[in-house]
């Protein structure tokens, strides 16, 4: 064993009093808490942008079929991963709310700075959806059941099922029918036609015109239930990744 390893194994204290110990812990808090918040904001924003991206950037992308399916699968990842470390190591049921709150702050800053001020899209067209309620559901479920299994089963399902209703009040005005050049379509799709982008939603769906399905109809709750079902497995999988991520593994060399 080398000298430096011996130094580690001989555990000694750098503290002389409890007051000094308290000061040290405050310093750790002052460093660790903003670190965690900034990392959550950065990672979640990056992850969400590259997996959900346009479905959340634009109001005309928030359809009844793909947006409520893709979004819960992506939004559950960080809450599951970091719930493991926060609950298992620190007994803090904050993984869902804190990570999604960080995403929300990052999203609002970016939409305003980048999509509105930089690229000149109206905020009415690029506002971020709300997901904080989904994080609260996950954390409350964990706090009440104290079980990752039940949190995945009920909380994971609820995230998929409630995403659309949670945003419904904000989205409803954009689903109102209007007539444009003799064709009936939603306000959201009208905005989409006015603001041509390089990734318009025709990439993933036919822009429906003049049928009741244009405005949601029965497909929406079906998608929500399907998303909820998938999300149970999704939560458990990412919880396992969170378990792997907290392993304090030391190796002798990289290669």
């Amino acid at each position: 064993m080398s000298k430096s390893s011996q130094a580690v194994s001989a555990t000694r204290s750098g503290m002389s009093s409890s007051a000094e110990q308290r000061k040290a812990y405050i310093q750790v808090d002052l460093l660790a808490i903003p670190l965690v918040v900034l990392l959550f904001a950065g990672i979640f924003s990056f992850h969400f942008a590259l997996l959900v991206g346009d479905w959340d950037y634009w109001v005309d992308w928030r359809d009844r079929r793909w947006w409520p399916l893709v979004t819960p699968l992506a939004i559950t990842v960080l809450p599951a991963v970091f719930s493991y470390v926060l609950w298992d190591k620190l007994r803090l049921p904050l993984g869902g709310t804190l990570t999604i709150l960080c995403l929300t702050f990052a999203a609002w800053i970016s939409r305003y700075l980048n999509f509105h001020l930089f690229a000149d899209f109206p905020m009415n067209f690029v506002w971020p959806s709300t997901y904080i309620g989904l994080g609260l559901i996950l954390d409350c479920m964990l706090l009440l059941t104290r079980s990752f299994f039940w949190t995945g089963l009920f909380g994971g399902f609820a995230v998929g099922a409630f995403l659309y209703p949670l945003n419904w009040s904000m989205l409803a005005p954009f689903q109102v029918p209007v007539e444009m050049h003799g064709t009936m379509l939603t306000v959201a799709d009208t905005l989409g036609y006015e603001y041509i982008r390089t990734a318009i939603p025709e990439y993933v769906r036919i822009i429906e015109e003049s049928t009741l399905r244009t405005f949601g109809e029965a497909v929406t709750p079906l998608t929500a239930v399907f998303a909820g079902f998938l999300n149970i497995l999704n939560y458990w999988f990412w919880l396992w990744i969170g378990y792997l991520g907290t392993k304090a593994i030391w190796i002798r060399k990289i290669v």
């Binding site: 430096s4 130094a7 204290s13 750790v28 900034l38 990056f46 346009d54 990744i241 991520g245």
Partner: protein
């Protein structure tokens, strides 16, 4: 290395905020420059204005960043602690505070890179079809912000390897993953640009061509493991032997 008389370990807040201010000023300057010139002289790669305002910036920033990175890492290696076996607990604790402040700075740069500057690229490519890989948002994101991100991570990693006994002889796998993720974004950029050049000129942000970036972003999930490693050692170093002990450096357990 000097072993000064005992003093309560403190985070170098003044130096931290100085560096943070520097980072804030540089990133803000890039943002203002991008806002002022991206849509005026940044649209046509073949125009003389583009060469003057954007390519010149690229040619200046790349060697500056390479020299700065090599300088910081070189300085950390040259001034390494060669007597880690004689390190006092109070000094070791102070170095943990320095390391945490470095990782906090890394988290600040991670947020700026992964959220506002990544999504500036998303917003830009929604309104323009690229005629070059070196678009105004790419020159800022891929050739300035991500190298800064890499530099801050590598500097923290090398600091730990050269100044902390726990990290000197062994490699922390979570820390290595946390640093390797941003580094591997640069090779993955090759795939991204190759694809965008040949078959995907537009920008659907959630497209499969971007999923390599997501995978590398997930390397940050190892942050939990690193925090466990850091906090475990900090707890050992801040443990009190007895309340009335005036001597700060007590051997708790002879290895």
């Amino acid at each position: 290395m000097k072993t000064a008389a005992y003093s309560s370990p403190k985070t170098p807040w003044a130096r931290f905020f100085l560096l943070l201010s520097l980072v804030a000023i540089i990133f803000s300057a890039y943002r203002v420059y991008q806002h002022a010139t991206a849509f005026t002289v940044g649209l046509d790669y073949f125009s003389p204005e583009f060469q003057q305002y954007w390519m010149r910036l690229l040619y200046i920033q790349l060697p500056v960043l390479a020299l700065a990175g090599a300088g910081i890492v070189g300085w950390l290696l040259v001034t390494r602690d060669r007597n880690l076996d004689k390190l006092e607990p109070a000094e070791e604790l102070r170095r943990y505070f320095v390391l945490l402040s470095q990782i906090l700075l890394f988290a600040c740069i991670a947020y700026l890179t992964a959220s506002p500057f990544t999504e500036a690229d998303a917003a830009w490519h929604q309104v323009t079809v690229r005629d070059t890989d070196f678009t105004p948002t790419h020159i800022v994101l891929f050739y300035f912000a991500i190298p800064m991100f890499i530099m801050s991570g590598v500097a923290a990693f090398v600091y730990a390897r050269t100044r902390l006994p726990q990290f000197a002889d062994r490699v922390s796998l979570p820390f290595a993953l946390l640093v390797a993720g941003p580094i591997m974004i640069m090779p993955n950029l090759g795939l991204n640009e190759w694809g965008h050049t040949f078959f995907y000129a537009e920008e659907l942000f959630a497209a499969p061509i971007h999923w390599g970036f997501v995978l590398l972003g997930w390397s940050a999930f190892a942050a939990g493991g690193l925090l466990v490693q850091l906090l475990t050692r900090i707890v050992e170093l801040t443990r009190l032997v007895s309340e009335d002990s005036a001597e700060p450096q007590k051997v708790l357990a002879a290895g």
